[in-house]
């Protein structure tokens, strides 16, 4: 009886086991700081559009705040879970991600022309959001398990690269170029820190450079809207009321901010100039209201988050735990950088949201769960220190 129970418990503990160590307060504070600023800015940036579209200024902030509260609970719960359990989640997550990515392709389109969302009635979510954590966990687990063979075994190398490619391709098929690029870069980072032979990266680098050059020269090769965005990025005078509208308005907003900004709530560009200011372009409104100083503080907070996550990973005695923590913070850092590149017209306009800021309940929930996982790794390091 007891044995049976113990067996059952052991089985259960593979998936759920409690952590005893203290979480990393610095990381937690940075997360909470970003979340708080993000929520305030979401309200400021989004109320005008919310009023215009839903006749309810608090439409976005109310939902986002609710998800933030739930997300914080989830984060704290996740931080309590022994990160070793995440190994068992890795395969489940991998399978589930793959399944959802396939399912979303056959489901009816939520927005015409795009297959990114699964509609569950009250909420919608993007399978690619789940796939991101799925791929982080999977590669962290796989690279730990096949670390040696990753270095020498061509079959394993090809398999892993194939999986990474398949995920990116699936997201691309959703008509989601930015998601695919993000997925690919994330896989590359995971395989890089996981120990894949460096020649692959050199080869990959060459292919990527050639690919980007090809696309810049011939944007037509991509699907229509994607190609146009590249054209619009290259030609600053291209279709100012259409393809470049959002970017131009974003630049106007950022520029208007100057050093110290127009003041919180004082953005003018959010009033129907910057399209969907609560979403991917929220940072333009942040720049307009808080100025260069405010924007820099926020960027530094993001950088600190990445750095602190890196420190947590370095302290972790487990290869898997370190890889998970690094993967998560690098993913957040990467997404932040790409988002800022887009709003500042440093790269073509693609739909990449800004973590903690952009509107999106399920993705905020996922983000906070991921933050919880990093905190879970921090608790484990805390124990090993003792």
């Amino acid at each position: 009886m007891v044995k049976q129970f113990k067996q059952k418990r052991r089985l259960l503990s593979l998936f759920l086991d409690w952590n005893e160590g203290n979480l990393d307060v610095t990381f937690l504070l940075i997360v909470l700081a970003l979340l708080t600023i993000g929520l305030i800015m979401l309200f400021s940036a989004g109320y005008s559009y919310a009023y215009y579209k839903y006749h309810n200024s608090t439409h976005f902030i109310a939902r986002q705040a609710l998800f933030a509260v739930i997300g914080i609970v989830f984060m704290l719960v996740a931080s309590r879970i022994n990160f070793n359990c995440f190994r068992s989640w890795a395969l489940v997550g991998f399978g589930a991600s793959l399944l959802l990515l396939l399912v979303v392709l056959v489901l009816p389109e939520y927005k015409p022309g795009f297959k990114r969302w699964i509609d569950l009635g009250p909420i919608t979510f993007q399978p690619s959001e789940i796939a991101k954590i799925g791929i982080i966990l999977f590669f962290a687990w796989a690279c730990e398990k096949w670390q040696k063979r990753l270095k020498y075994d061509l079959k394993i190398q090809l398999l892993f690269i194939g999986i990474a490619g398949a995920f990116a391709l699936l997201v691309y098929l959703e008509n989601h170029l930015s998601g695919a690029v993000l997925m690919a870069l994330l896989s590359v980072i995971m395989l890089f820190i996981g120990g894949l032979n460096r020649w692959w990266f050199i080869a990959l680098g060459v292919v990527a450079v050639l690919g980007v050059m090809l696309l810049l020269a011939k944007p037509d090769l991509l699907k229509e809207y994607m190609g146009e965005r590249i054209t619009a990025w290259l030609d600053k005078d291209y279709d100012p009321t259409g393809a470049r509208w959002q970017t131009n308005q974003s630049l106007n907003a950022i520029g208007s901010g100057g050093l110290l900004g127009q003041g919180l709530g004082e953005s003018k560009q959010k009033h129907m100039y910057v399209s969907e200011p609560q979403n991917d372009f929220i940072f333009a409104i942040v720049c307009e209201e808080l100025g260069f100083v405010g924007a820099a503080v926020i960027l530094i907070l993001f950088a600190l988050l990445v750095w602190r996550g890196f420190v947590i990973a370095m302290r972790c005695r487990s290869r898997f735990g370190a890889a998970v923590a690094m993967g998560i913070v690098f993913q957040v850092g990467l997404q932040t950088v790409l988002n800022i590149f887009v709003v500042t017209d440093t790269m073509p306009n693609t739909g990449i949201s800004l973590p903690f800021f952009s509107y999106g309940g399920t993705s905020l929930l996922m983000l906070l769960v991921e933050m919880g996982m990093v905190l879970s790794v921090s608790r484990a390091s805390d124990i090993t220190k003792k």
Binding site: K268, T336, T344
Partner: protein, 757 residues
């Protein structure tokens, strides 16, 4: 069981971190610094340009008032209706594609064009054409839309939910309440509210206000913001002008001018009334003129008929354009003419001032005079005989005035010609004043020989503008002081405060007060018993001079009849110049222009409240009160009326008078007729007979027979051959018994001052 992280993993992770932070966050920060700190101003300007709705509020143009603050030109708020062709497609159409969308779009365009065309009276095809300019966001449909039409457009928009594609914005509209009144002085504005002609053009900068602005925040969806960010700068109304023109006098002048213009079949008739003491123009007109509200419409029926006959379109356009220019032209300042005998007044004043002639100077006219190689005839071929200076003026004797000019000498004559201002513009505050040119409009000093001197002495062989002539005449009436004429008395700001007032300006003293007085007295004799007798106005001593001149170079039979006068003679207040250009038939100034001046003097003196002083002869024009006859028996009433000099007409079979017309106490002409009703029937009516072309006694008799009262106007007592020439109530008009008909008389002999008539 867990593997420890390898060194390679740390190294590689550090690499990723470095790339992410330095390349990623670093680049981001650099980009932000560039956008916000270096290019910030540029982007802020771009953003503000689109965020701020800057709509201008049109400023009302200043008003133009007459001297009694009656508005002659006025701006009122109106509206401008425009469409936004790029927004005619609604959401429904936006979702359609291809032909279906095009068809649906066309239906909506038709709806817009049809509706607006019906309300605004704009051609539907024209609106449709504008609606098809898909890329345009603004196409004006009509400006100066009034309130009623604007409200209809608003309803049309609301009924059909056309909010995005039809717009209404404020505009102003210029009204000229008196239509043709003073049209050549006032001028008009173009569609853009800019002055095109006359004072509207000359004072455009003053009249134009400063447009106001409303700067408001607007959102990217072209809506107003939930939060108010509005700053407004009020429009400043333009400066208003108060003219010296008097609406009453001006309309009187225009009425009389248009009558003589019509009856004489002349090319044009023009006239001026000036305040002699200040140089202020009280009225100024040339007929035909035009309606300021429709400046492009040709007003003159004859001209229009001529244009209609032209078949070639280019030629027709040219003719229309010429006719427009002609009707807009202020001939009283822009045209020049030969002053003829009116100018003798100037010769006289100059010679008197220089002492080369006196009141006792005599001259015997034998019907002509030899000047160099020419024998110049007098208009009275038999000769005027021996005349005093005054008689010479009364007879308008040419040989007499040639000798007066010759006594003065070329040098001195020219000095006075200059001094009276005939070699320079008067400087009136209107644009388009004719500029005299030596050798062209007048003989230059170098070329001023005996022939020139002699012809100029009686006003021939040179030209002056009407404004120059009246200014010179007014100088004589003003004790010799030559004034600068003006029409703008005051400028007022938007609140009605005076910001500038024109001060009368004395250009110079041309002749002494004594000389001026003598000349006016002689001019009075011209009217009381000379060629100017038709300018006689009972009760006022009019002093004037007739003129009839041949137009230089216009071919034979083209004359100008004119008359200049000042009144009242003992202390002149106004000067009048009437000129009839190319009359047909009767061409004498004393015949054509003098009666016009008389009518004006009478009207103006009455209006100005100058008390008449009747001579004995004229005292029969004084109106007296009707006696009380009601309730008396018919015979008693008849007796009373007769005792008072009235005749009676009895209507009805009763014994007692129940009603009398005119009523008791009402002023009526002497020897008038009183209608006595003996029962309570309605007042009887009568058809007015033709009362023109008759002697006064005949007119009086017929009037009494018809039961009409006669009011005598014009020259009914001075000179011979006095006949009635016009009546204020047209013949065959049905009027009540006892109605007063004004009949004007003039003398048909002794008024000729030329050989032409």
């Amino acid at each position: 069981m867990a593997l420890k992280p390898s060194k390679m993993m740390y190294k590689r992770a550090l690499g990723v971190l470095a790339v992410l932070v330095i390349l990623g966050f670093g680049t981001g920060l650099v980009r932000l610094a560039k956008l916000q700190l270096i290019d910030g101003e540029m982007y802020r300007a771009k953003a503000e340009a689109q965020q701020l709705g800057d709509s201008s509020i049109q400023a009302l143009r200043g008003t133009i008032y007459d001297r009694n603050m009656r508005p002659l030109a006025q701006s009122a708020t109106a509206w401008k209706v425009f469409i936004d062709p790029s927004n005619i497609k609604n959401e429904k159409i936006a979702k359609m594609s291809g032909d279906e969308a095009q068809a649906a779009l066309q239906v909506r365009r038709e709806l817009v064009a049809d509706g607006l065309s019906k309300i605004l009276g704009v051609d539907k095809e024209e609106i449709l054409k504008k609606a098809e300019k898909e890329k345009s966001g603004y196409q004006k449909i009509k400006s100066e839309v009034d309130l009623e039409e604007k409200q209809q457009v608003s309803e049309f928009i609301a009924d059909n939910k056309l909010y995005d594609c039809i717009g209404i914005e404020p505009d102003t509209k210029r009204y000229y309440p008196f239509k043709t009144l003073a049209s050549t002085i006032i001028g008009f504005t173009g569609t853009d509210d800019m002055g095109v002609e006359g004072l509207e053009h000359k004072y455009d900068d003053d009249l134009t206000g400063i447009p106001g602005r409303i700067i408001s925040a607007k959102n990217g969806a072209m809506g107003s913001m939930p939060i108010e960010y509005t700053a407004s700068y009020e429009a400043q109304q333009g400066t208003s002008l108060v003219l010296t023109i008097d609406e009453t006098i001006q309309s009187l002048l225009e009425k009389e001018l248009s009558k003589v213009y019509a009856s004489s079949q002349a090319n044009a008739a023009y006239g001026l009334v000036m305040d002699v003491k200040t140089g202020a123009i009280l009225a100024m007109s040339n007929q035909p003129d035009y309606d300021l509200n429709e400046p492009y419409t040709i007003q003159d029926a004859d001209v229009l008929a001529k244009i209609d006959k032209i078949t070639d379109p280019a030629e027709k356009n040219q003719a229309v354009s010429t006719a427009r220019q002609a009707q807009w032209r202020n001939r009283t300042i822009s045209d020049t003419y030969e002053p003829g005998s009116v100018f003798k007044v100037i010769t006289l004043a100059s010679a008197l001032e220089e002492g080369v002639v006196t009141e006792s100077t005599r001259y015997t006219c034998v019907g002509g005079i030899q000047v160099a190689d020419n024998y110049i005839k007098c208009h009275k071929h038999a000769g005027h005989g021996t005349q005093t200076l005054q008689q010479g003026l009364m007879n308008s004797c040419n040989p007499f005035f040639i000798t007066v000019g010759q006594k003065l000498g070329a040098e001195k004559f020219f000095n006075y010609f200059e001094a009276f201002g005939f070699t320079e513009p008067t400087g009136i505050d209107l644009s388009g004043e004719a500029v005299p040119k030596a050798g062209a409009t007048y003989h230059s000093r170098e070329n001023f020989g005996i022939s020139q001197l002699s012809s100029c002495s009686f006003g021939q062989t040179f030209q002056v503008s009407p404004i120059q002539m009246i200014t010179a005449i007014a100088a004589i009436a003003n004790g010799g002081k030559l004034m600068r004429p003006y029409v703008v008395a005051k400028k007022l700001d938007g609140d009605g405060n005076v910001i500038e007032e024109t001060q009368p300006y004395v250009r110079r003293q041309v002749v002494s007060e004594q000389t001026a007085r003598k000349v006016v007295d002689m001019m009075e004799a011209v009217v009381s018993d000379g060629t100017g007798r038709n300018a006689n106005v009972a009760g006022y001593h009019v002093a004037g001079k007739t003129g009839t001149s041949q137009k230089i170079g216009a071919g034979n039979g083209k004359y100008i009849a004119s008359f200049a006068c000042v009144a009242p003679g003992d202390d002149p207040e106004i000067a009048i110049l009437i000129t009839v250009d190319e009359p047909v038939g009767q061409v004498n100034g004393g015949q054509l222009a003098a009666p016009v001046a008389a009518a004006l003097v009478e009207g103006i003196m009455n209006y100005l409240g100058v008390e008449p002083e009747y001579s004995e002869k004229e005292s029969r024009l004084i109106e007296i009160a009707a006696p009380s006859l009601v309730n008396s028996t018919v015979s008693a009433a008849q007796a009373v009326a007769k005792a008072n000099g009235f005749s009676v007409k009895v209507v009805g079979d009763g014994d007692h008078v129940v009603k009398q017309v005119p009523a008791y106490g009402q002023l009526m002409p002497q020897k008038g007729v009183i209608i006595l009703y003996t029962d309570s029937r309605a007042e009887e009516t009568v058809q007015v007979p033709d009362l023109t072309g008759m002697r006064l006694s005949a007119v009086q008799k017929i009037a009494n027979e018809y039961g009409l009262n006669l009011k005598i106007a014009g020259n009914a007592f001075t000179g011979a051959d006095i006949l009635s020439y016009s009546q204020d109530i047209e013949k065959d008009t049905v009027v009540k018994y006892g109605t007063v008909v004004t009949v004007s008389f003039k003398s048909y002999s002794g008024v000729s001052d030329s050989i032409y008539g």
